[in-house]
């Protein structure tokens, strides 16, 4: 199929960006969206034009490196997948596809479609861990039975891949779903309870410092999240935060 691509080009984080149009042909429905961009880039190199920079790595929907706002939605029109799992059969011959970076002040553009999501790392560094030494003197794993239901919920929260689609989708560029996923994972496990108060206060504090917007419960994040992280986690974060604040 033939496609018209409207792609955001921006030299670096301080440069002014703009959309460029590219035409591409011979795209096959079984190709993934990123393979389509690979084809475009090889074509550009052959024409001696600098190719489009975009982030990607595992190409199987788990590393969270790929991003892209495709026709106004993070990771494109399909649900529960990342851009690398989006296939071209989803598009029609002659379509125009607009491709932009995830936009938020907290995610400055690195170049073209690649953005800097280190704000997420800093939120995790503020408390997204259990303070246990890793050098090996721990109690036996089965000495701490955990209710399956809670373990499963913790797992579901823990499947967040940190891609930033929640921020990209949110009209307020809020990072609440991301933050709530980690807070929830530990809040649901007995190992995480000990530091729960400090964790939630520090992580929310860092989240605010990074310049993300506020959550207004539109639910866009949950719909666009490639891993289906539930809004329940945000409610849990709110609850954890409230009780932590009251404890002081």
């Amino acid at each position: 199929m033939k496609l018209n691509l409207k792609i955001w080009r921006q030299e670096n984080k301080d440069a002014q960006g703009k959309f460029e149009n590219y035409n591409i042909d011979n795209i096959h429905g079984d190709m993934s969206f990123l393979e389509m961009l690979d084809v475009l880039n090889n074509q550009l190199v052959e024409e001696n034009i600098e190719p489009v920079e975009f982030d990607h790595d595992c190409r199987e929907g788990i590393c969270g490196m790929c991003s892209l706002q495709i026709n106004g939605e993070p990771h494109g029109p399909d649900r529960r997948i990342t851009t690398c799992q989006l296939h071209m059969r989803r598009f029609k011959d002659g379509d125009t596809i607009t491709i932009e970076p995830f936009r938020a002040n907290a995610f400055p553009v690195v170049r073209d479609l690649a953005v800097d999501r280190s704000a997420f790392d800093r939120i995790q560094q503020a408390g997204g861990y259990i303070s246990v030494n890793t050098s090996g003197n721990t109690q036996d794993a089965n000495s701490l039975p955990i209710q399956k239901e809670n373990a499963d919920m913790a797992f579901n929260a823990a499947t967040c891949i940190g891609c930033g689609a929640c921020v990209a989708a949110c009209k307020n560029a809020s990072a609440m779903l991301f933050t709530s996923a980690k807070v929830s994972q530990y809040a649901l496990l007995p190992q995480g309870k000990v530091e729960a108060t400090e964790r939630v206060l520090n992580m929310v504090d860092q989240m605010d410092k990074e310049g993300f917007g506020n959550c207004t419960n539109t639910g866009a994040c949950e719909i666009e999240c490639p891993k289906g992280i539930s809004l329940e986690n945000i409610a849990r974060l709110n609850r954890e935060y409230l009780s932590a604040s009251l404890k002081g």
């Binding site: 190199v45 790595d57 997204g128 890793t134 373990a151």
Partner: protein, 667 residues
């Protein structure tokens, strides 16, 4: 006399590690503060090592090319992690895990290393649970296990199909804790370009900041390479797009021997190649072989009809299906080790029984599992005479609960519903057992340069068992390296900070700049991908699942030619001092083009078949691998001498004192 000293401690196998830990030198906590360690790569091996080193008190600098440490490719491991916990009470033990691993590796791994791996495996699980890793649990609240290929016990711990992700996020969280304490400096979007040696010791690296293009010098008292495997030399593999050999290869060029480069694991259950422009292959977890049955049609005309789209797999009658693994290997059936399963699939496809358009696929069928689970479920929920439809519906629910995410992933990629029609799978490059040669302390042949995880060669021999890569990465990082490195660093307590102003750093930086200039100034018109694709085809066709002397010789020639062509005809667009993915790719491909040749050379010299290395000249009458313990019971460690073809072979003889060498049989 070999120059290789594996430093295996003396004494009985089960006591070696404890004894060694008691014997080696330690660095006192106050001195650790004055010692810097660089860790390249933040996958399981790198992240766990960084966290533990920092916790012990060292100053750690980590480097990864991704935008966050959490994205390293360990994250994509699906199935699970082995540990000899014997929670299931099915007779597991450290010895059995050790035995299975050595046997699974076709007797080409080091006994002492493997035993240590088995010994610390249980501790990994304890550690990860304490960290909040949400492993799958049973209703009683205790940890659940499943079974993997090549073993007869259930010792695999898992978190649905995302075990690697959960373990890596655990290690990443441990890293974050140390970053927050100021003990780890994390450098993301950085690529190691060279290892710097001062007085013969690894004392730092040259790295390129991938965002600004800056060439940076970083000094340390020791450098740990946890940079993963080199499966991407095949272009098409289950590795991440960015996975590369550059860090390991640059260390090799500086004197680290490269061991067994030809030992590559071809994983049997991947989604088949769909087109010429495909960029990567997707793995379907080995755990699927617990319940899926692998088959091809018994009759060639059926296979042909399927290839041409005239027949559907569901229309083939039970008696016309060839469940070839169950037929050939009744004891292990569909759960034979990966190398065996892959070769068997290739054998059937080469014989004309393959089932997709190109004849390069076999079926992985869940119909009987769905029915079996459906019956169990109906029975246990009190519906004693459920109809066939009800049984199938219940069975699908059970299968969905177990493998739902994998089934969804398959459907997304292929547009076929695996609940209704069997999956199509084909082997693909997945893991490289070979890597930098290391001694028992995980130190390479360069003093102060260590290699952990997939980047080293040590534990898996010629074939790795499923769910053992995660185990090795974390064992090395959490429990082995942080202690053994102290033995070396104890000599450095008075060294003081290493300067980056020395001539060694100067020279290393200059050579990196020269290479960049050379690539930027190449006057060609082809993208780096073009050469990578060509290299991949040579590797797959001539150094892939089965190899022979003639083709390996051709491969060596062709790769050398391609390398020459590359430097003449590559085009790197843009500038070196900004983010430039073409330059990143070109530099990685340049190293793959050297490694590929050494790979073929190693495969050519090893005149035997073992594990993932199958030489057509060396097979039994039944087509099984024919090992030659007399002549090849050694680790082939190659020393760099300028060009890959000049590489010099060093042998580390493998000694088996606790295990009897046998022909590996899974029948």
């Amino acid at each position: 006399m070999s120059v290789l000293d594996s430093k295996i401690p003396s004494g009985p196998l089960a006591e070696k590690w404890t004894k060694h830990k008691n014997d080696i030198n330690l660095v006192n906590p106050a001195n650790k503060r004055n010692i810097d360690v660089i860790v390249i790569g933040t996958g399981l091996a790198g992240a766990s090592a960084s966290a533990t080193l920092a916790e012990l008190g060292y100053n750690v600098k980590t480097f990864c090319f991704q935008d966050s440490p959490r994205r390293a490719h360990s994250i994509a491991a699906q199935g699970g992690i082995n540990a000899a916990k014997n929670y299931q009470g099915d007779g597991d033990s450290n010895y059995r895990l050790f035995y299975d691993t050595v046997k699974g590796g076709d007797y080409r791994s080091r006994e002492a290393n493997v035993y240590r791996l088995a010994e610390v495996s249980g501790n990994i699980i304890d550690q990860c649970v304490a960290q909040g890793v949400p492993f799958a649990r049973e209703y009683g609240g205790l940890l659940d296990n499943r079974s993997f290929g090549g073993v007869l016990v259930s010792r695999t711990f898992y978190a649905k199909g995302q075990t690697g992700q959960q373990l890596l996020l655990g290690a990443y969280s441990a890293m974050n804790r140390q970053i927050n304490r100021g003990k780890i400096q994390s450098h993301t979007r950085h690529e190691m370009m060279d290892l710097v040696l001062v007085d013969g010791k690894a004392r730092g690296i040259i790295a390129r900041n991938l965002v600004t293009g800056e060439i940076e010098r970083h000094a340390a008292h020791a450098v740990v390479l946890a940079s993963g495997g080199y499966g991407n030399v095949f272009l098409l593999s289950t590795n991440a797009m960015g996975s590369n050999v550059t860090a390991a290869w640059r260390a090799h060029r500086k004197g680290a021997f490269f061991a067994n480069p030809c030992f590559t694991q071809i994983h049997p259950t991947c989604i088949p190649v769909s087109g010429d422009l495909q960029a990567k292959l997707t793995l379907m977890s080995e755990s699927l072989r617990n319940d899926g049955r692998i088959w091809v049609p018994k009759k060639k005309e059926d296979a042909k009809a399927i290839q041409e789209g005239r027949l559907k797999p569901t229309e083939i009658k039970e008696e016309d299906r060839d469940y070839y693994l169950e037929r050939r290997y009744p004891a292990f059936g569909n759960l034979v080790p990966r190398d065996v399963a892959s070769r068997a699939a290739k054998e059937r496809c080469d014989a004309g029984y393959g089932v997709n358009k190109t004849g390069q696929a076999v079926y992985l069928d869940f119909a009987s599992a769905i029915e079996r689970y459906g019956k169990e479920k109906a029975f246990s929920s009190g519906n004693k005479d459920a109809s066939h439809e009800e049984i199938i519906k219940l069975g699908k629910e059970v299968v969905e609960a177990k493998y739902g995410n994998l089934f969804d992933m398959y459907e997304k990629i292929t547009d076929q519903n695996p609940y209704e029609t069997p999956m199509m799978i084909f082997p693909a490059v997945h893991y490289t057992m070979g890597g930098l040669w290391v001694d028992y302390n995980l130190m390479t042949t360069i003093p102060g340069c260590y290699a952990t995880g997939e980047a080293n060669f040590s534990d898996h021999g010629a074939n790795r068992l499923g769910a053992s890569a995660l185990m090795q990465g974390l064992a090395d990082g959490y429990f082995v390296l942080p202690y053994t490195i102290g033995d070396y660093l104890s000599n450095d307590i008075q060294t003081g900070p290493i300067s980056t102003e020395s001539k060694e750093f100067e020279e290393a930086e200059k050579s990196v700049r020269n290479q960049i200039d050379k690539l930027m100034n190449a006057k060609g018109d082809k993208p780096a991908d073009y050469f990578h694709r060509k290299l991949g085809l040579i590797m797959w066709n001539k150094c892939g699942m089965s190899r022979n002397e003639k083709e390996l010789k051709e491969a060596i020639e062709e790769i050398a030619e391609l390398r020459e062509d590359f430097y003449k005809n590559v085009r790197v667009t843009g500038k070196p001092n900004v983010k430039n993915q073409e330059l990143e790719k070109a530099m990685r491909v340049a190293d793959f083009l050297e490694l590929g040749e050494l790979f073929a050379k190693d495969a050519l010299h090893r005149n035997e078949s073992c594990g993932g290395h199958f030489r057509e000249e060396y097979q039994t009458e039944e087509g099984e691998a024919l090992r030659d313990d007399e002549n090849f019971r050694y680790v082939a460690a190659w020393e760099y001498k300028g060009e890959p073809k000049e590489a010099v072979l060093h042998k580390e003889e493998l000694v088996y004192e606790n295990i009897e060498l046998k022909t590996r049989s899974y029948k």
